[in-house]
Amino acid sequence: MSSMDDTQNSAPGSIPASKTAATSKMGNENATKRLQHELMQLMTSPAPGVSAFPSADGNLLLWHATIEGPEDTPYAGLNLKLSFEFPANYPYKPPTVLFTTPIYHPNVDFAGRICLDILKDKWTPAYAIQTVLLSLQSLLGEPNNASPLNGEAAELWDKDPALFKTKVMDRHKDIEED
């Protein structure tokens, strides 16, 4: 474990209510610890079709992940890359997740931003990287067309699956890992 800030705890029981400098540092430490455990879990019991790893520069708050497009969806056979950015008070606050691979999907905009409730207001600290990735994987097959970020895609999904598939393949571009 890298030597983090050596902030001695304040008095026991004083659960941080205000976001002082000290608490944010402490949160950072906890985020790192939790992410270490998640990394361990991802390595020891990986879920099929999803993988994640911290970015190469050793910053544990920045991860890269990959989702394999599920069979029987327009994304079958595609490898989709994502970036995770964790706030210092993770897991109490959700990570910022972006698709780095260009993707044509009703709930993803052209910048890769994702509209998924569990990444916003429905987030709970019980979620983890693996569960988020699995949710995103199922989102690929079952988009929420009621609240689309990409209206055209939401329309095409039901109307013209063949054209949708073509658009997906046109938009998809394998990117190099940075």
Binding site: D6, Q8, N9, I15, E38
Partner: protein
């Protein structure tokens, strides 16, 4: 000072609900965040960690989130928030269990259950988790969080180990003026010496804190290495003596089984190679075992002897006491006759010699004995039974030893028997071969006789037996390969060897 950070609420006496919850919260202190727990060897870390809090605690608290567990912990025992085994768990009204600290923090940000999003209020909606959870947590085997300490114990004992026994725990520097922390094992007498004062290194110009001196010599010192004259390795000066005594591969040493008769005496690295498969190892182990047994037996014998002498002493005393009491009764009778107000006669024979034992009787045994005789008798009985026990143990030991001896010898015996049977078989083979040989010779002789009678026309015919046993060779030519006399004699029948 708050109580040690233990999830002990299950052991607390029953309390009213609110106060119990309060006690849970009191013990559920946030995990400490300083990394000096992880790296206790770096005094700087401890230094920056300690003075930041207003009240410097005697010990840093254990960070339960970084504990290393020996076995894989069942997922059901992991807190859904921190993903580590629960520490001071609480169960919510919706039935989910979390570390108290984790759920508090989560509810600060969002007042719903992290699992099912049911609205929850801090503290009010907490229950005590089932004790079975605590038991399971207590049983988890963990490594001591102190770097350098290999202690492994169940989690319930970790606090005691960390707080009282672990030699690597960072404690306050014994010098009250010094704010740094120091590993317990580095605290030296006199207890007030600060181990953080700087001394100059013996080999280089650097100033080093006293506590780091050994590390400095071993790893950091620039001017302290030298070449070992024997093996050419670069060695830290400070460790030279140890190197020559234990590590240097060049000096000649004896095999460690030399007590068992191994004659190897060579350079260390060769001997170390040899020791792995030393044939004397088995014997050496046996000898060791025997020495151990011997020691135990000697011990027991010693105890037996002591007991025996004790018993004898007691018997003597008893006899003397009887004598004494008889005298005393006589005297007291006399005294009764003379003066009724004389001191209690019993106090007379409880004179000095008996007092210590009487003290034993009352204070040591917590039992009241009718009289000193009863007490002595009871003691003798006890001694006798102990002696019986001991002799039983000796017999057992003896049996044990002979059993192990027998187990060693049995395979050897079997091997001997096998060898014997093999020799027998060989013997039979030889006899059979000899007989065959003899038979051939007889036939040959007969053949030769008939050949001489039937003339040269038959000389080309050779008996098949001859082909089998001799290289094809005219019978008139000399001896057979089996001619050596020793072979013949091994036949054992004393018959003269067949000759051509």
């Amino acid at each position: 000072m708050p109580p040690p950070n233990t999830p002990e609420e299950g052991l607390l006496p029953p309390q009213s609900e609110p106060s119990r919850i309060a006690s849970i919260l009191a013990t559920a202190t946030p995990p400490p965040t300083n990394s000096s727990l992880v790296q206790p060897s770096s005094p700087e870390a401890a230094n920056t960690a300690a003075p930041t809090s207003q009240e410097d605690p005697a010990l840093l608290e254990i960070d339960y989130q970084i504990l290393e567990y020996l076995d894989t912990v069942d997922e059901t025992l992991l807190c859904p928030v921190c993903k580590t085994p629960f520490h001071s768990p609480v169960t919510t009204t919706c039935g989910h269990t979390f570390c108290a600290w984790c759920i508090n923090r989560a509810l600060d940000i969002q007042p719903t259950c992290p699992i099912d999003r049911q609205p929850l209020t801090k503290t009010r909606d907490y229950h005590r988790p089932p004790l079975i959870i605590k038991d399971q947590l207590d049983r988890l085997k963990v490594k001591c969080p102190n770097k350098g300490c290999d202690h492994v114990c169940s989690r319930e004992h970790l606090d005691a180990h960390y707080e009282r026994r672990c030699e690597y725990t960072m404690v306050r520097c014994p010098d009250s003026k010094c704010k740094k922390r120091i590993a317990r094992r580095h605290v030296q007498e006199p207890a007030s010496t600060c181990m953080h004062r700087e001394v100059s290194c013996r080999y280089c110009d650097e100033k080093v804190a006293l506590v780091d001196l050994n590390t400095h010599y071993d790893y950091l010192c620039s001017g302290a290495t030298t070449k070992c004259s024997a093996c050419d390795a670069t060695v830290v000066l400070h460790r030279m003596e140890k190197h020559c005594a234990d590590d240097c591969p060049e000096p000649q040493i004896r095999c460690k089984w030399h007590i068992a008769g191994c004659k190897i005496f060579d350079k260390r690295y060769l001997v170390q190679e040899h020791e792995d498969g030393c044939p004397y190892e088995i014997i050496g182990e046996l000898l060791k075992q025997r020495a151990e047994d011997r020691r135990i037996i000697d011990n027991l014998t010693d105890r037996l002897v002591t007991l025996e002498t004790e018993r004898r002493e007691h018997q003597e005393r008893r006899a003397r006491r009887r004598e004494l009491s008889r005298q005393a009764t006589n005297t007291s009778r006399g005294a009764d006759a003379i003066d009724l107000s004389a001191p209690d006669p019993s106090s007379f024979f409880f004179d000095m010699e008996w007092r210590p034992e009487l003290a034993n009787v009352t204070s040591g045994e917590n039992r009241t004995w009718g009289s000193p005789e009863d007490y002595m008798l009871a003691r003798f009985e006890r001694l006798e039974s102990r002696m019986e026990d001991l002799s039983k143990q000796v017999v057992e030991m003896d049996a044990h030893q002979s059993m192990s001896m027998l187990q060693q010898i049995m395979p050897l015996n079997q091997q001997l028997v096998e060898l014997g049977s093999k020799v027998g078989v060989l013997n039979m083979h030889t006899t059979w071969l000899m007989n065959m040989q003899r038979h051939n010779h007889i036939q040959q002789r007969a053949g030769a006789a008939s050949a001489s009678t039937s003339g040269l026309s038959n000389s080309g015919m050779v008996s098949s037996n001859e082909i089998n046993n001799n290289a094809v060779r005219p019978p008139s030519e000399g001896g057979l390969p089996y001619r050596s006399t020793s072979r013949r004699n091994s036949d054992g029948r004393g018959e003269p060897p067949p000759r051509l």
